[in-house]
């Protein structure tokens, strides 16, 4: 492990505080799910951990202002907190409600929207999901077609959203809908929030090829949505969408998560094998491992520079894209190497409830291959790495 430079003593003290809290309060069954790299935690587990953090002073919502129950941490504190979550096998924060809709409402929401929606996110009473992509609008998001026709005080929704993570455990969905046709396809898009329990909504699971149920297709048939559920101006939702995508992409580098994954692999590689040799003593494996460790350190330092340097622009357009690209590339490399570590035993498709996360040895590693397959999604989701490169070429290089 390459140690990163320490922060100020105040911040390092802060790190100590959050670390201790996490270690002492994270329920063991939840820690184990995270330790085997499970991304799609059950709603109960998410809610439980979220509320433990909430009770500690709104830590479940690190970026939120105190008036809405958050700790109002600065960038460095948020960064350190998320690092400690990752390095101590705590679940990811709830991205859709906490990370995306919250900031969107702070910026674009009406006062009454803030009053009604934010408390239920803070308390994990409402689970949100995000409806952006459509069957024929993936990378080319602005070509979306799911229609919201204005009828009096309501919008009538028809169409569908796809790759909707957590729709099957969510109560509400927010997203972009087509309300008009402008000269540019970016016009005529509106940001709406929709109650998933309403009539006319069907949620079909879409299984990933390694078997997990994380995403869904959400169908809307004459679903009626009050105009009050619109955020911002009609037909002008594209700006909000862009803002949101920026928020999402930013978290997807997952540097600290990958650091934790690499530490797991280190333990595997250093575990003694009776009569056999440790994996780390294989020169070729060791070189691959070391190179990933160094690349990841370079990325971590770059991320810190981008996020916390006063000199870097806070807009983080191209920077977020670069972090996403390199972060997911390295993440996939780490998972590939981990999956190979188990040799014959990596082939076993163990049911999740039989995986013991504490058996970090080169055998009993059936889940590592599953993770390798599952995490192939990361260079694709949240704007594929190809799209991210387009963004960097345009935003940073002016091409």
């Amino acid at each position: 492990m390459l140690n990163s430079p320490p922060f100020s003593s105040e911040l390092e003290e802060f790190r100590g505080t959050v670390r201790t809290f996490i270690r002492e309060n994270l329920p063991d069954n939840i820690r184990k799910m995270v330790a085997v790299e499970q991304m799609d935690l059950p709603r109960e587990a998410q809610a439980r951990w979220h509320r433990i953090l909430r009770d500690r002073g709104g830590w479940c919502c690190p970026s939120w202002p105190s008036q809405y129950g958050g700790p109002q941490w600065n960038d460095a504190q948020q960064y350190i907190f998320e690092q400690e979550l990752a390095l101590n096998d705590a679940p990811r924060l709830m991205i859709y409600g906490v990370g995306m809709l919250g900031p969107t409402l702070f910026k674009y929401g009406s006062e009454s929207q803030k009053q009604t929606i934010l408390p239920d996110i803070l308390d994990a009473n409402t689970f949100w999901c995000q409806g952006f992509s459509e069957p024929n609008s993936g990378s080319d998001l602005a070509s979306l077609k799911c229609e919201a026709q204005r009828v009096g005080d309501e919008y009538v929704i028809n169409g569908s959203k796809i790759w909707t993570s957590e729709a099957h455990i969510a109560d509400w969905i927010f997203g972009l809908f087509r309300t008009g046709k402008g000269a540019r396809k970016q016009q005529g898009i509106t940001f709406l929030m929709i109650d998933l329990s309403g009539s006319g909504i069907t949620i079909d699971p879409l299984l990933l090829f390694e078997g997990t149920h994380e995403v869904n297709q959400v169908y809307f048939e004459d679903v009626r949505v009050p105009v009050a559920n619109r955020v911002g101006v009609e037909d002008d939702g594209w700006e909000i969408g862009k803002y949101l995508l920026g928020l999402e992409r930013f978290g997807t580098a997952e540097v600290s998560r990958t650091k934790a994954s690499l530490e797991r692999l280190r333990r595997i590689a250093h575990s003694e094998v009776p009569g056999g040799s440790r994996l780390i003593d294989d020169a070729s494996f060791a070189e691959q491992f070391d190179r990933l460790e160094i690349s990841l350190h370079a990325l971590e330092m770059t991320e810190r520079r981008f996020l916390l340097d006063e000199n870097t622009s806070k807009s983080l357009g191209a920077e977020a894209s670069m972090l996403k690209v390199r972060g997911t590339e390295i993440q996939c490399d780490v998972f590939r190497l981990t999956a190979r570590a188990g040799a014959h035993l990596s082939q076993i498709d163990l049911p999740r409830d039989q995986i013991d996360s504490d058996l970090n040895t080169p055998y009993s590693l059936g889940h590592t291959a599953r993770n390798y397959f599952n995490y192939r999604k990361t260079p694709i989701y949240s704007g594929s790495n190809e799209i991210q490169r387009n963004i960097v070429a345009k935003a940073a290089l002016g091409l």
Binding site: D140, F209, R340, H344, Q347, R376
Partner: protein, 372 residues
């Protein structure tokens, strides 16, 4: 001819939807289909004595295995008719040899190799399982991993130590043991690619004296020769997987549109497809070489070329499978699309009988022996 017949059979009887259902049955094995493939004569192919005309020519088996790869075919064929039969052909004595080979070729016997152990990774010398001689019997003690289709096997080929220490390459022997032998127990598992694999526990298993197959204490050279054949066949299967994977992507980028154009019209996508295509060609060449190695070469020359092929093709095939998913975008992650299942298959094939890293290291080791 074999190619066309196999392709037609698999197209009709093993389309993607059928495959997915089959791998999700309890045993992951369809007895009727196994019967049919036996009737097609496929299981005769790997062994010389049993097939008229072909004389165990690796070319014919390679053609079939490539077809299996193309259709992502899951069955105990490789385990039993390739590995099992080849080991028996090379190592067993008559008349047991002819008898078993006949049973394998006709289908009733399914033989699975139990040669690896938890700590061994891909190193066969590293064997703890012991076989102690006492009177007319050997007593086998230990456990084995990576036993393919142990759930439906009728016999196991067990590599066990008859002398020496854990890491010695000498002192190893092969035993053919029916699975109902007392003291054998199994943990059966599904594999990621829909196959079945078992961990086998041997607790004071009493094996008859004649269950010893091949030379006592000196099983490894012959076993390695059999496995070279098997590895060459895995190379062929991987090229089949690569063919199909590539064709899927090509079809996908031709038809999928984004930003008003087919994504295949974007130059950066085109160049990546070209790289995939070139990898297919390189893999095909190395697969032919692996087949040539087991047909025409012996000893170190055979070992080196087989390891070179497995290392290179394993790498290329995994790269291509990952690229294929990436180029499919989110669709590539879907269970309902075949492409992800080909990645799972290639991951398994790369690992079987030594992954790319293992064979790269073996190649180095062999080069040292070869040059000195």
């Amino acid at each position: 001819m074999i190619e066309r017949a196999a392709s037609r059979f698999l197209q009709n009887r093993y389309p993607f939807e059928v495959r997915q259902k089959l791998i999700n049955t309890n045993s992951g094995f369809c007895h009727d289909q196994w019967r049919e493939t036996a009737d097609l004569g496929w299981m005769h192919l790997p062994v010389s004595e049993h097939f008229d005309g072909h004389d165990g020519d690796a070319d014919f088996v390679a053609v079939l295995m490539r077809e299996f790869g193309r259709h992502n075919y899951q069955s105990p064929y490789f385990t039993s008719a390739v590995v099992g039969a080849k080991v028996l052909e090379v190592m067993a004595e008559e008349p047991a040899r002819t008898d078993m080979l006949h049973q394998i070729a006709e289908g009733p016997a399914i033989v699975s190799a139990a040669i690896y152990e938890k700590q061994s990774r891909y190193d066969l010398c590293n064997t703890i399982t012991s076989a102690k001689e006492s009177g007319n019997r050997y007593t086998l003690q230990g456990s084995k991993v990576g036993v393919q289709y142990g759930n439906i096997a009728t016999h196991l080929l067990i590599l066990a130590r008859t002398s020496g220490n854990q890491l010695d390459c000498e002192g190893l022997s092969i035993f053919l043991v029916p699975i109902d032998c007392e003291g054998i127990s199994f943990d059966h598992h599904r594999t990621h690619d829909g196959g079945r694999v078992s961990i086998v526990h041997l607790n004071k298993v009493a094996a008859e004296r004649d269950s010893l197959i091949g030379p006592k204490n000196l099983a490894l050279p012959k076993l390695q020769e059999s496995l070279n054949f098997a590895i060459a066949m895995l190379c062929a299967e991987m090229t089949g997987v690569m063919d199909s994977t590539f064709n899927m992507v090509l079809e996908f980028v031709r038809t999928r549109t984004q930003f008003g154009s087919s994504i295949g019209s974007f130059q950066s996508i085109q160049h990546r497809l070209v790289d995939m295509y070139m990898r297919c060609e390189m893999a095909a060449s190395m697969s032919s070489e692996a087949t040539r190695a087991v047909n025409d070469l012996t000893g170190l020359e055979q070992d080196r070329l087989v390891s070179a092929a497995k290392a290179e093709i394993g790498r290329l095939a995994i790269l291509n499978a990952e690229e294929a998913i990436q180029l499919h975008g989110a669709m590539g992650m879907m269970d309902e699309m075949p492409v992800g299942h080909y990645l799972k298959r290639v991951f398994a094939l790369n690992s079987l009988y030594g992954d790319a890293e293992h064979h790269q290291a073996r190649y180095r080791k062999l080069n040292q022996d070869w040059q000195t």
